[in-house]
């Protein structure tokens, strides 16, 4: 595609796959799972529903990553730059939440599940931020 064609429509009009929407759903599910786990503290929580939520959330995140990886004419440099820094911030944030739970004697399977949810959380937010930034830095039309 020539650059003349690329500038024919505003960036704002370009359609993207629902990467942000899926990742927001993934984030919502781990937040719900986290609330379920925290609502039982300091008792041992039942793990069925939170595990199911974490699995669906991970599936949504992977779907987002797959859709993202198929994008052409996307501002990948800007995406990776923002993703790296946001990841650093949210790894610190998730690490602090994990530390609080470990400090409160969360152990065994609930701790593993919590850590999985924190990993998803720490990936979800940077992905949403980086995608939102990069989509408006990408050419108006994809080559595909």
């Amino acid at each position: 595609m020539s650059s003349e064609l690329a500038t024919a429509a505003p960036t704002i009009q370009r359609r993207f796959p629902p990467v942000a929407e899926l990742t927001i759903c993934s984030l919502a599910l781990v937040v719900i799972g986290g609330i379920l786990l925290a609502s039982y503290a300091p008792r041992r929580p039942p793990l069925g529903v939170p595990t199911a939520l974490a699995v669906i959330s991970a599936a949504l995140l992977l779907t987002s990553a797959y859709l993202l990886s198929r994008l052409q004419m996307f501002a990948w440099e800007r995406f990776l730059l923002v993703f790296r820094w946001a990841l650093l911030a949210y790894v610190i944030s998730a690490g602090m939440i994990g530390f609080a739970f470990i400090h409160d004697h969360t152990r065994g399977a609930p701790l593993v599940l919590l850590l999985v949810m924190l990993v998803i959380f720490a990936l979800d937010v940077p992905l949403i931020i980086a995608f939102t930034v990069a989509r408006y830095s990408s050419p108006p039309h994809s080559a595909s």
């Binding site: 650059s3 690329a6 500038t7 429509a9 505003p10 960036t11 704002i12 942000a20 990742t23 927001i24 984030l27 919502a28 937040v31 719900i32 986290g34 609330i35 925290a38 609502s39 503290a41 300091p42 008792r43 501002a75 990948w76 440099e77 800007r78 923002v82 820094w85 946001a86 911030a89 610190i92 944030s93 602090m96 939440i97 530390f99 609080a100 400090h103 409160d104 979800d124 937010v125 949403i128 931020i129 995608f131 939102t132 930034v133 408006y136 830095s137 990408s138 050419p139 108006p140």
Partner: protein, 203 residues
């Protein structure tokens, strides 16, 4: 990779504001303060330091709710009526501060609040505050998804757009609208937090 900022630059009228080189997405001068706050919260939790946990929760919560209400219900509607140029100029100076301030306040308030609730026995099922705290988790959960999924990405995307040599006014207007609506929603949800927390404090 092509210079994508340049490709889109001609689409829409550029939004004036401070020179792009002067706009910092993350104000570096604020990072040591954020680090100090995070370390203080960690030390408070690790040491079961009641005064410090109460300080972090009360001060962080007061600032968080007040700023959310002020931005959502006072600043937001005013900004919504300004020209794109005026909004851009305000956003270039206001939003970098919010990028650091709000996540720090939220982390400080929630981490300290959870520890306080545990220490005070408010999370025990027999405690009359238990149900109120679960409702509080739900309110905070909804606010977290809105803030992390919509508000913060819009905030950062506006700043990145404004750093371009020729910012796209339509993109800034769209993202600012998203920012203002979500700030309004989280501001209104803070009213629920006020009701819950005053109930918890007086049971």
């Amino acid at each position: 990779m092509t210079d994508t900022g340049r490709v889109q630059a001609g689409n829409v009228a550029a939004a004036p504001g401070p020179p792009p080189s002067q706009i910092q997405v993350v104000p570096l001068k604020g990072l040591p303060i954020v680090a100090a706050v995070v370390v203080f919260v960690i030390v408070s939790i690790a040491g079961n330091w009641l005064w410090a946990l109460t300080f972090c929760h009360v001060v962080g919560g007061a600032l968080w709710t007040a700023i959310d209400l002020f931005v959502g219900l006072i600043i937001g509607p005013i900004l919504g009526r300004l020209s794109i140029a005026a909004r851009a100029e305000f956003a270039a100076r206001f939003m970098p501060k919010m990028v650091l301030l709000m996540p720090t306040l939220v982390l400080m308030t929630l981490a300290a609040g959870f520890q306080l609730a545990l220490k005070e026995g408010n999370l025990a099922p027999s405690n009359p505050n238990h149900a109120w705290l679960i409702v509080s988790y739900c309110v905070v959960g909804v606010m977290a998804v809105i803030a992390l999924g919509v508000l913060e990405p819009a905030n950062i995307a506006v700043l990145v757009e404004m750093r371009k040599s020729r910012p796209d006014g339509a993109v800034i207007a769209l993202l600012m609208r998203r920012f203002l609506y979500t700030a309004g929603i989280t501001g209104l949800m803070q009213v629920a937090t006020f009701i819950i927390m005053t109930r918890v404090a007086t049971q």
